[in-house]
Amino acid sequence: MGNYTATDYRSDVKPVWCPGCGDFGVLNAVYQALARLQLPLEEVAIISGIGCSSRLPGYVKTYGFNSIHGRVLPVAQGVKLARPATTVIAVGGDGDGLSIGGGHLPHIARRNVDLTYIMMDNGIYGMTKGQTSPTTGFDQETKSMPYGIIEAPLNPVKLALSYEATFIARGFSANVEQCVDLIVRGIQHPGFAFIQLLSPCVTFVGREQFDIIRELAVDLPADYDPGSLDQAWQVSNETGKISLGVIYQKQLPTYEQRLQELVQRAQQGGRVAFADLLRQYHVSEPESAQD
């Protein structure tokens, strides 16, 4: 095993993010988490969709895939299922993951594919310059809703919980230490890990967003039990504060494990060769025709 430091994971591509963007904290946490796990560069694939945050794969010196808007999860699952030895990390924003790509979240959760999905939630569309996202709050005005927002925001943690994701965590990109911890635990979790990282957009939401979150953020208490669905529902419903930490975790067989069982069931009658399969399509003369 190599002796990797966080800088070993840094690519030579310079981030295009605005100075002070919350995404820098997430990137930093990704470097450190990979180093903490000492993962070889070639065994990691970071997959994204489109958006400011989705630029992240290019900044990490592992394998990466900056795909198309909303499709981070299916691309990531394809990579993982085709080559299970890869550590797959999916990253993207709230728009990418909850609007256009919102239909993929329940399905990766019910499959429980063993990968980690970091949703970098800035509550806005940054890359297209400031339109409403599915997590933008009622109290804001945006480029696409200049008279105020008339749609309720989605709650990513609540969604993940109702889709029965087996690992759900929330962090704040300004608290890099905690983010590193959550990402490491997410990667170590066997199954689908969903991590919401609040990472403010300084340009279209404003720098004060950091202060607002800082004021509301609390770490989950020491006696919090991530195995308790009741407590997790309470956290997902809370108002007036934002709890950070591992909100829910349970162990269930992963998709890969179930797939192996299915393969065994399919091969109960012995392994098949192509020639055997082809024989099913063959017709031969009836026995009685020869007499």
Binding site: G58, Y63, G64, P74, V79, A82, Y281, H282
Partner: protein, 593 residues
């Protein structure tokens, strides 16, 4: 050899065992050395409604579904009006119907058609205690009437009902035999001789089976799909077979997930594919652009069906041609292949993976409902001959990995491709424009170079690969036909008949639509006096050809907009019109001189 060539239809309502009877007939006669093809027609509803199976039987391979019916077996008339327009009864055709179910009074049939009332249901009740086996009585009657060889039926019926046990097998076979006896009691019928001396090994399969089989042979390791008519059978096949070969099948939440998952798998280094029909292809188009931009191998099968939007999912068309060839935003290099029949579907599935892997781009395999769902008996396929086209991805060399450039500019447009797990081969694949290493860029000059690099692959394919074409007819033709994909059979038969009449006709059928094999096509076209273009779409093929070739002045399009299949007769008439047109133009020119 005595040239027996008969076409039958079995019609009824869903649930009456129409298709089942047809399948038994095909398997049974194949065992006795005969070739056949069965096309199905049914309503879009799940249960009930109309159901029709049309079977053509010959001693030599069947090229198309046949023109007029020699016999129509009617299990019930109740839904007949729904497809009355699709069944063409021959002038001396025979209608075999249940004695208890009289033909509708307003039925329009040719004058000489003969009606034979047979106690299908009553015989079934008498033998099996219920009317359920009336399809087997009817099948027996048909088999007896046309003197079909009997040996195969015993086994085909036994195999068909194997899961239901000996008693059911026996009573069904008795029902069949009772039908045979009823027919043999008829002394006024014509006699047939179906004996074949040389049995060759044969395969019985649908076009969808063939695509799946070819893909597995080509080494597909990952299939992701979403159900859609008439492509679902490919997905179901993969679901059944892939786990038996340690390969991965996923039924996804939608078509976009299916194609992007396959792209992810391809990025991870394995041969990956999906299969869909028109509406699904529309949804997948953005991702097909991603595969082209990220230069990842990908195979997408489109089993075309009628109509934009939902259209008629159970009827055929060739109207996705524009979408396959031009669909997508930006400059999107792609390969489009179109198999002509089930055997060719195996071959082209292998080719699709070969081209995708070798040139790192999306390949669309364009079949249709007619080919995908028809059941064919074909001569054995030479898989060994296909083996050289089963290739593995060429990975970067140690030297290339020293300063690895995933999208390096090369003379062919193809660059060394790595995958997770390969040390020092790390790169970021992207749909965003990038430089040779994969770094994002919006530099116009670089974008121009990269776009040219990707487009260069089409040129390289034109240079390095033989354009996939199929040709038949006269070596030195006066009149030519251009067609593509599954219309090959009907064209081939039309050309053969015209040649027998002494006409100098030849046809070229495209199995590769993009990149268009311009040179061989133009060589074929230039000396022609007239050209007929045959397509099942509203001039899409014609317009596409016109945009890249010099078509003869005397060019005519013979089209169906879908839903109904071409007959050999109408193709022959259309060719004769092209011929006549040439004559008139010639005479006018002479007169004007």
């Amino acid at each position: 050899m005595h040239e027996e060539d008969s076409t039958f239809a079995i019609v009824g309502s869903g649930g009456e065992g129409v298709v089942s009877a047809g399948e038994i007939l095909i398997h049974a006669t194949a065992r006795d050395g005969l070739y056949s093809m069965m096309v199905k027609s049914y309503g879009p509803q799940i249960r009930g409604g109309e159901s029709l199976a049309q079977i053509r039987l010959r001693k030599t391979p069947v090229l198309c579904q046949g023109d007029a019916l020699d016999a129509m077996v009617v299990l019930s008339w109740s839904n007949f009006h729904r497809f009355a327009g699709e069944v063409r009864l021959g002038a001396r055709g025979i209608i075999m119907h249940d004695s208890e179910d009289a033909p509708p009074p307003n039925l329009k049939v040719p004058d000489k058609v003969r009606f034979v009332a047979v106690p299908f249901a009553a015989t079934s009740k008498q033998i099996t205690g219920g009317a359920q086996a009336k399809n087997l009585v009817a099948l027996g009657f048909l088999a007896g009437w046309f003197d079909l060889p009997q040996h195969g039926f015993a086994e085909a019926i036994r195999t068909r009902f194997a899961k239901k046990g000996g008693a059911v097998q026996q009573s069904n076979f008795s029902a069949f035999q009772a039908g045979v006896m009823l027919a043999q009691a008829e002394t006024t019928r014509r006699r047939y001789n179906w004996t074949v001396s040389n049995h060759e090994a044969k395969l019985v399969l649908t076009g969808n089976d063939a695509v799946a089989l070819g893909s597995l042979f080509a080494g597909v390791k990952f299939f992701a799909g979403y159900p859609i008519t008439p492509a679902s059978e490919i997905m179901e096949w993969m679901a059944r077979e892939l786990p038996r070969f340690d390969r991965v099948f996923v039924q996804t939440e939608d078509e976009i997930a299916a194609v992007t998952m396959a792209i992810g798998a391809s990025f991870a280094g394995v041969k990956a594919m999906t299969a869909t029909s028109g509406p699904g292809l529309s949804l997948m188009t953005e991702a097909i652009g991603l595969a082209a931009m990220a230069e990842l191998p990908l195979v997408v099968v489109d089993v075309q069906r009628a109509g934009p939007s939902t259209g008629i999912p159970t009827k055929t068309t060739q109207a996705d041609l524009y979408h396959a060839v031009f669909g997508g935003h930006g400059n999107l290099p792609r390969v489009v292949l179109a198999p002509t029949d089930a055997a060719d579907a195996i071959t082209l599935a292998v080719h699709a993976f070969y081209l995708a892997e070798k040139y790192q781009l999306p390949v669309l395999l364009l079949t249709d409902q007619f080919l995908g769902q028809r059941l064919e008996v074909i001569p054995q396929v030479d898989f060994a001959a296909l083996q050289p086209k089963v290739i593995t991805r060429t990975l970067p060399t140690a030297e290339e990995l020293q300063h690895y450039q995933r999208f390096k500019f090369t003379d062919s447009g193809v660059s060394p491709i790595s995958a997770p797990g390969i040390k020092n081969g790390m790169y970021t694949a992207a749909g965003i424009e990038h430089d040779e290493t994969g770094r994002p860029t919006s530099n116009a000059e670089l974008d121009e170079k990269m776009t040219r690099k990707r487009a260069l692959k089409s040129e390289t394919i034109r240079k390095q690969e033989p354009g996939l074409l199929w040709r038949c007819g006269d070596q030195d033709p006066e009149i030519g036909i251009l067609a593509w994909g599954s219309t090959k059979g009907v064209v081939q038969e039309a050309v053969a008949r015209l040649q027998r009449e002494g006409r100098k006709v030849a046809a070229m059928v495209l199995r590769q639509l993009a990149p268009l094999p311009v040179t061989p096509l133009q060589d074929f076209l230039t000396p022609l006096e007239g050209l007929l273009i045959v397509e099942m779409a509203d001039r899409q093929f014609y317009n596409y050809l016109k945009s890249q070739l010099n078509l003869p002045h005397n060019t005519r399009v013979h089209q169906h907009l879908g839903a109904t299949l071409f007959t050999v007769q109408e193709i022959i008439e259309a060719i004769k019109e092209v011929d006549a047109l040439w004559e008139t133009t010639l005479q006018q020119t002479i007169a004007a001189m």
